[in-house]
């Protein structure tokens, strides 16, 4: 068979045991096409040469004259041929009698993966020859006419289950890779989910789908924006990272419920699992608060959730940024499993262990620990929960502290405790990373911590509005973007201790991945100006149109953007976002199929008044 290899490759790609997730197959795909959204099946064969799809034929079609178009999947002894289209497989009986010699010739001589059109009758398979594993396994096609629509040349690789393909090869021949069951499933499911989202937003809740430009002006600090030279010397458009400014301006313009499936651009050079262009479900509403946006999104995801997955339960749980950091060591906790971080500072107030003493004596100094259930089997041991506390530190820990630790952490036999001391945020982040590393290790040993069929959504709220700049911690930068409104309870701090101000930003996290984020925006021009100019020291000239717009009757507003590629990656269980995108770039930003980006003759640069600045060494190379 054709697809299981791809499926098992997919599973290996996940590098963890698959739990109760049911991976789809051609059969379940046909069903899911029919079941999804509980409405009538679309007409897949209207307007074209075929009367039916290969995958839809059943006993109920017996006796029908059908015309099918598809690819030759395989052939058995010149007697049977299996024809494939996106919908599934069907068995075709090659006629053996003299009068049908030309049909036989066509069907026996066409190479595999050739495209043929056959017409014939749906008949029962002889008793005992039914194939219960195949949705069309009760029937076969008795062919009357056949036409070779296009012959397939020798393929660059055998499209067979046991032939492994590197991702580079798959991307180079993407048009062949797209024929795989998994890519068909991923792209069709994506289309269905987006369609349901549109129905929810447009038809049920009166949102307006508005297209915003992608040739725009660079935004302050937009260092990751692609540039597009214009025909005016020295003038460039920018490809924006999101329609942020436009959607806020739409609110000022009274288009009070906007959405767009928006193409966005981010030039991050080489980063795995990022794409230079990506898609977000972009939403903005007027007269809304955080609760409103959250309810909207919960309803949206529930409504558009694939029917072959367990239905979503709403509302999603919510957690403050502070709590997420303290408990999971990250702002995007994977809440499918526990292994929470515990603050054990108090148990060690009087410790004699020097490094703990040191840590606790400093401002914000803490001791944190995390208990890895049954970790003894797999982990390089630090504090092993046996009575002898197998660890170099153990002997310095007093019995009282030991008991307190066991009580706080609920330590049991064969658990492993990881302990760290230091500044709160750093200590938490470290344990947060170890938490995921431990989960990897445990899952390699066969434990299931993160069931890919479980979808744990989580809202993370109350982020800080500003962060100290990495290169100069005395200066502030926006934790998210400069249009985020401050938390109403913290506005007074803006003028005294801005670093303490919480924001009205919210993130949506799914299984430890951030799949969306948004905020209530600033609608007061004066406040926006103060934050941009005084606190962030940005050049407000670049944003004068937005500041001006806020002065002319801007309504209170807020919004969110969901990362569609990441969401679909998680929903389909794909190993990479490249598996839910029809024509992705490689992790170096190349299109391996067409070889983009590519050289351009100098005369084509002229109208744009640019020339290439060749790096010195590359210049030397070119001279050769």
């Amino acid at each position: 068979m054709y697809f299981p290899s791809w499926l098992s490759q997919l599973c290996r790609g996940l590098s963890r045991p698959i739990g109760r997730t049911t991976q789809p197959t051609w059969g379940s795909f046909s069903r899911s096409l029919a079941l999804s959204s509980q409405r009538r099946i679309p007409e897949f064969s209207s307007f074209i040469a075929r009367t039916n799809t290969c995958g839809e034929l059943r006993s109920s079609h017996l006796g029908q004259e059908v015309t099918l178009c598809g690819w030759i999947q395989y052939r058995r002894q010149n007697i049977f041929l299996v024809l494939r289209d996106f919908h599934g497989l069907v068995q075709v009986v090659i006629p053996q009698d003299e009068s049908a010699a030309s049909v036989k010739k066509i069907l026996c001589e066409a190479p595999l993966e050739s495209v043929v059109q056959v017409s014939g009758t749906v008949i029962s398979r002889p008793p005992g020859q039914e194939n219960p594993k195949m949705p069309t396994g009760e029937i076969e096609i008795k062919v009357k006419t056949a036409e070779l629509l296009n012959s397939c040349k020798r393929l660059p690789f055998e499209i067979k289950d046991f032939v492994k393909k590197t991702e580079a090869l798959r991307l180079q021949y993407r048009y062949l890779d797209l024929r795989s069951f998994q890519m068909q499933y991923n792209l069709r499911l994506r289309s269905q989910v987006v369609m349901k989202m549109r129905e929810y937003l447009c038809n049920l809740h009166g949102f307006v789908d508005i297209e915003t430009p992608t040739l725009f002006k660079r935004t302050p600090g937009g260092a990751k924006e692609f540039l597009v030279p214009s025909r005016e010397p020295g003038k460039f458009y920018s490809l924006p990272q999101s329609p942020q400014q436009f959607k806020q301006l739409l609110m000022v313009g009274g288009l009070d419920r906007y959405f767009q499936v928006a193409r966005c651009y981010r030039d991050e050079g080489s980063r795995p699992d990022r794409q230079p262009e990506f898609t977000q479900i972009d939403i903005e509403m007027s007269f809304v608060d955080q609760t409103g946006i959250r309810s909207l999104i919960e309803g949206l995801l529930q409504y558009s959730w694939p029917s072959d997955k367990n239905p979503l339960v709403v509302p999603f749980p919510s957690m403050t940024f502070a709590e997420a950091l303290a408990t999971y060591g990250t702002d995007k906790p994977d809440t499918r499993f526990g292994m929470k971080i515990v603050d054990i500072s108090n148990a060690f107030r009087n410790t004699e262990v020097r490094f703990l003493q040191d840590a606790l004596s400093k401002p914000q100094g803490t001791v944190k620990a995390m208990c890895v259930r049954e970790g003894a089997e797999v982990l390089p041991v630090f504090l092993k929960a046996k009575e002898n506390w197998n660890s170099p530190v153990a002997k310095f820990i007093l019995e009282k502290q030991r008991l307190e630790l066991i009580r706080l952490m609920e330590i049991q036999e064969d658990d492993v405790v990881l302990l760290t001391a230091g500044e709160h945020k750093k200590a938490c982040s470290l344990l947060g990373k170890l938490r995921l590393a431990c989960a990897d290790l445990l899952e390699m040993k066969g434990m299931v911590l993160r069931d890919p069929a479980q979808f744990s959504f989580l809202w993370v709220v109350d982020f800080p509005l500003f962060l100290p700049k990495e290169e100069n911690p005395m200066e502030l930068e926006s934790a998210h973007h400069p249009f985020t409104a401050p938390h109403p309870g913290d506005i007074h701090l803006l003028y005294t201790e801005p670093e303490k101000v919480r924001s009205q930003h919210y993130d949506l996290v799914l299984n430890g991945t951030e799949i969306g984020g948004g905020s209530i925006r600033i609608h007061d021009a004066e406040l926006q100006h103060y934050i941009l100019a005084t606190l962030l020291k940005e050049d407000v000239k670049l944003l004068s149109h937005l500041l001006q717009a806020l002065d002319y009757g801007a309504p209170p507003h807020g919004g969110i953007a969901l990362g569609l590629d990441r969401l679909m990656c998680l929903v389909t269980g794909a190993p990479s976002i490249r598996d839910v995108i029809a024509f992705p770039k490689s992790f170096r930003g190349h299109d391996l199929m067409s070889n983009a980006p590519d050289s351009v003759p100098p005369q084509e640069l002229k109208p744009y008044h640019i020339q290439v600045s060749w790096p010195a060494d590359s210049e030397a190379e070119r001279a050769h």
Copy 2:
């Protein structure tokens, strides 16, 4: 009032009398929101602060406690205030009693266009004070509480009906312009039409919505493609003019019914009524012929046609390119009116008029004429149909010829006949242009030839596959694009007289504007290679991936793209495509609101290995 000026401006913009078209108003807009697509009205107030929209309140809401959010449209004597949201206008009674002094203060002091939230009760207007012209004219709001959500500063222009605004000013303050009824109507209608198209394609006919990349490789002859420098020295992405290659590759990949509302890019410098980025409804199908595509599109437009327009009648009429040229002098005839071109060569075979003689003696020489009904009133007279044939040529025309002409052209008193002689195509094109110019003139005099409420669709088919290159007529170029399949009846001519080959291209024309085009594509690698390399002399290396794909079991396929901006422009009767786009560029490609394109500091060009080549004079300017 607020909008009629904008409406009348719109009508003037069309520069012809409006026939029976019913221009929408706030009232009809509320109705159209409700009526469109015969389904339940979306919940416009879910998840947010208001309970209702301003525009939806009726007598059926009497006694209800409501909360409304909107903009202050105007105020009358501090007694009434009219509140506006996208849905319409509602009258709010400003409380006059002492106990509500704070509410009164808010509502009386807020400048017009400020945003307020009011809560109160829906009450009847006192008898005699109903306003039948206003959909909410039977009721008003008795306010209990009011909140000023945002005050409006002094506006750059008065948003009043009698204040004319240039388009440049409208674009500079687009966020204010979007509050106009007309822009709200245009953008909301566009969203609804696209949503219906998606329902038709996705839900009814099993199409898959697939996003294709916009960072791609330059295509052969892609001189109008924007470039995007990458971080690799000398390597550029291109922003493609359409997803043409991708959609064909999707067919090879077995995604056999593709559509996308696709953003496309074309750098044409300054051209009125073109946008550097535009949107097309992009469609491709496998196993389809011309008839299939045409039926699909007819069904699509019929299904998605706005409910406030007359329903479309399908199938649309069809005409060959040759017939369109001969009869209307163009490949996009406006078939709302006659004034057809007639070949009168035979009537003048024996003429003594020298220039007619000359023309007829040459190969493809013809004499053509067009009769402008009642043209005598408005046209600079050439051949006037009075008995004395008021024209310098008249005396050379024999009585027999005159009678034959009257018979052929059905000439009546007060008609004007325009006559030209020369090569067939040139003669037809000239008369085609005169035909439209005459229509303009007649309409300026009050005749209605082109009713904007009439939608005359027309398929134009059987285009030539190749045209002689303008700069070198001995060489051929594709009439449309090099992937267009030749007409099956003409394939033998490809190798002998390629200039005579008709194509399987089809255009969809609406009221004299091309709103779509497509073709059956070449699915045979050898044929595609022959056309690219031998006939068109293109560099096939740039397309090697596509040629290769055709070899690996490419199904027969075809498709079409509809220009959404142009279609919506015609549907809404807008004077320019800029009126159906939220944030359009000026005709010079500028965003007048944000001032894009803009200068970029040299250090931001560095990562892309480019530098600006300043033109000599501009260099001089910069030195000052």
